[in-house]
Symmetry: D2
Subunit: 282 residues, 4 copies
């Protein structure tokens, strides 16, 4: 574990109003990916630049198994409605706080006022950029908080009557905070981030994804850079889109100089030329 | 698909006050398990009794992969707190109703009065046999229902103010009903049932497990019988427990006659004698 | 199951010299994907064209879970070295013929003479287009076959000496045929095909992938078309490649007419314009 | 990582004639299991003896998820026929040496002479205790080695003719050594060991399982002890077996003294009495 990562190990990184993410442990780093890949692909030179090239090659060609050789464990505190989206990522290990064993705490998510936004018209599942009028927003926040207060006092009162915990909790709201340990390999974590950093993802889970992204930048900097270049910053074009695109590409402008002045070097430059050929030949 | 199973296909089987389970599709039955196992274990005779013996052998020896060759798909309506326990079974496919895309419906779980029970003292995670005094129970049910009503009207009012659906829903209670399609193979389904039919499981998920069990009795009767005999009706003994047990076993009472009069036949009888030998030799 | 699919059900489709693929069972089709997706995304209109649009939308946006709701089961006979690549796809169910339980059969893969090719210089893991001289190729085939004959007669002779099957088999070659039942959901099957239809994949597994592709064209025609348009026929561009591309695109040529004459309609056309904007703004 | 474990980290532990197992990395230990479980089950006291009790409770009641919070990575060299059994454990990460990218090495498994045994008559899939006559055994070993030598020289000669590596290798025997990196969580590793330490498992994979068991004894001593007491050293009894057993149990011999003198203490003693009651009441 590098020094910068050690420094954040175990520290609570704040997310939303009362949540956090806390890196508990990490197995491996960029070099572990290289180590595992070299078993499959043969030895070759082992300079740092060769390692970087190898990781970028693996990412570019979606050779995912070496990225599974790195593992992270987090302690996370998050609202239940976020947890419900999160848990859909099945290739991970989870131990969650149990409202059957233990009393739920008096902690609920209350959005910041600038998040009180209208239903999006383009993104059926999300909120818009547009905020609700301040007065309405304040009213909504007040309603949310008052209900949370009411529900928790009812919860307490039912517990005092000795109602079983597993029943007393059923009316607690989805905004209630829960917490869990979550362990996942780097490949599946990157997939999680690809989906949850996306603008379609709900803001409240995106906040966590962004904090994890910052941790990965420190933990596996070469992998992260490749992930940004090839996955996050990339574009998929369909067969139909390629057909249109080729009609507006001016292949005359393509010159050795252009490639040389670009950041595409060596094998990547060759692969790009092959893609362009594929586009033209359609 | 056998006739009895066809009859319940697509039918809503009521669970709790407003939920249901509905078998959507099934791939394979007892004979598919035999078919797959015979690829691994060689051909042999193929009489119906041989098939039964094979399935029982597979179950007894935890040869799980042939049971993965049968698949079931269900449509289920269930309270969110049940869904949260259910989803922990990761080896399954799920499509859930989304409160981001669509408006949540005005449907909440209200327990029956006889379920309003005290915290169990032996089972830290569950409720006791003992019911709360009727008056208290009635009061609790009233509180639950009034809060559900209040929360849903607040939800509606926030939607009317054009608050994004994904935010308006965050104060809905865990008793809100959701629904999903759930697809799982028979091996993993039996594992689900083993855990969720157990008396430690929360009553509300057990209700669903029992309905699925009834479906399996119809769908894969031989497998189900073996599951009851070897898994549900079985006992695990630890090394320490065996050490005590052997001191109270009267091996003199063990006679050929005893075995003959039991339902242990052929290979099973032999295996039992080997287990007893293992116990004595400790 | 549609009629065309029923016709091939259970039929051996030849692969390589002695292998085959045989569809044993299928759960669901294009309409099951729509059915599951509508649970998540709300009801909407239900015309056939709406169904097609929905499936294409799901594929385009990598909403993978509805594709998991369709399941296929195959009986496959294949050489062991192909089986070793195949089994790396973990999200599937397998029952393989066991050389511990049963005697291995006298069946080995012998390549066709046109497959006897040189090591590729561009694809480190594969063969070239270039064939070895016919004489050399014939010699190689002869060596392969003679060794297979020798090894099987040694195997037989060791079994006759009553050597345990699990040991007698250890010198059988990787070209020995094995067989298995293989069950997988459509999402994971498409992922398998993406990797195994690729020109980087070894020819011998590609042959099987192509036969499965033909089955899917019949079983889930709309999904297959979308898979070809968005995945197989698509291209990924990296951040760096986009940077070069934008310098050779002539945005003046982009006109409403061009889009109208293309096969990009409605939402897809809009999404394409957004991608282009993303490219320009870099 | 405790000191004893650090000492074996990275060291090759010999398995079979040319294989090895090498611990590359470990995430967590007994205390990580406790840490994760306490999130779910509430805080409680934290004395070392409480930790031990908690781990034993989790193992006894098959609460498997906290054991998933510990992860191990190994570098393993093993014959291909062993690798084929090993890879059936799907919940693990693997990077294997590739015969397409790299030349296979001249290393083959040759059994020790005492392993040259006859087909078992009771265990259809295994070998017997009985060895083949020494002369026959020697002859078999000679045949195995000569064939391995022949096949490798043919492999070499085909590579010299520039045949693609992916084809040249297809006649290499299943006794050829391969190697891989293998990463797995503790729960799934214990399941692997349960199956592969069993006397039904092929000797050659059992050798590896036993070495891993020794590593776990050092890495997670409390978990290992619980695993031996409750899983490896335990017995499953079926409903039918319980019915016979209760007829030969002399419940009069059961006394408080007997329990007190046993190693069943506290909760475990109570649970045992409940099991006995379950047996009697049948």
């Amino acid at each position: 574990m590098n020094e910068a990562l050690s420094k954040i190990l175990g520290k609570e990184i704040k997310c939303l109003d009362k949540g956090f993410i806390r890196l508990i442990d990490a197995m491996g780093d960029d070099s572990s990916i290289v180590q595992a890949a070299r078993v499959s692909y043969g030895k070759g030179t082992k300079t740092p630049s060769a390692d970087r090239e190898l990781i970028r090659y693996l990412m570019r060609h979606r050779h995912t198994s070496p990225f599974e050789m790195v593992e992270f464990k987090f302690h996370i505190k998050l609202p239940i409605f976020v947890a419900r989206q999160w848990i859909r990522h099945r290739t991970a290990n989870v131990n969650e706080y149990s409202g059957r064993y233990s009393e739920m705490k008096d902690e609920f998510y209350v959005p910041e006022i600038e998040q009180i936004r209208t239903q999006s018209t383009i993104n059926k599942q999300g909120r818009d950029e547009e905020r609700l009028p301040e007065e309405t927003a304040k009213l909504i926040l007040q309603i949310l908080q008052e209900s949370q207060y009411l529900l928790y006092s009812q919860y307490q009162s039912m517990l005092e009557k000795n109602l079983a915990r597993e029943l007393a909790r059923i009316n607690l709201p989805l905004s209630t905070y829960t917490e869990w340990y979550w362990k996942i390999d780097l490949h599946n974590l990157l997939h999680f981030l690809k989906l949850r950093l996306d603008w379609h993802a709900q803001y409240e889970i995106r906040v966590y994804a962004e904090k994890i992204a910052e941790i990965l930048k420190i933990a596996v900097p070469i992998t992260w850079e490749a992930f940004e270049d090839y996955i996050l910053g990339g574009i998929n074009l369909s067969k139909q889109e390629i057909n249109v695109l080729k009609q507006i590409i001016n292949f005359d402008r393509l010159s050795d100089e252009l490639i040389e002045n670009s950041s595409l070097k060596g094998l990547e430059a060759k692969e790009f030329m092959m893609k362009l050929k594929k586009i033209t030949l359609r």
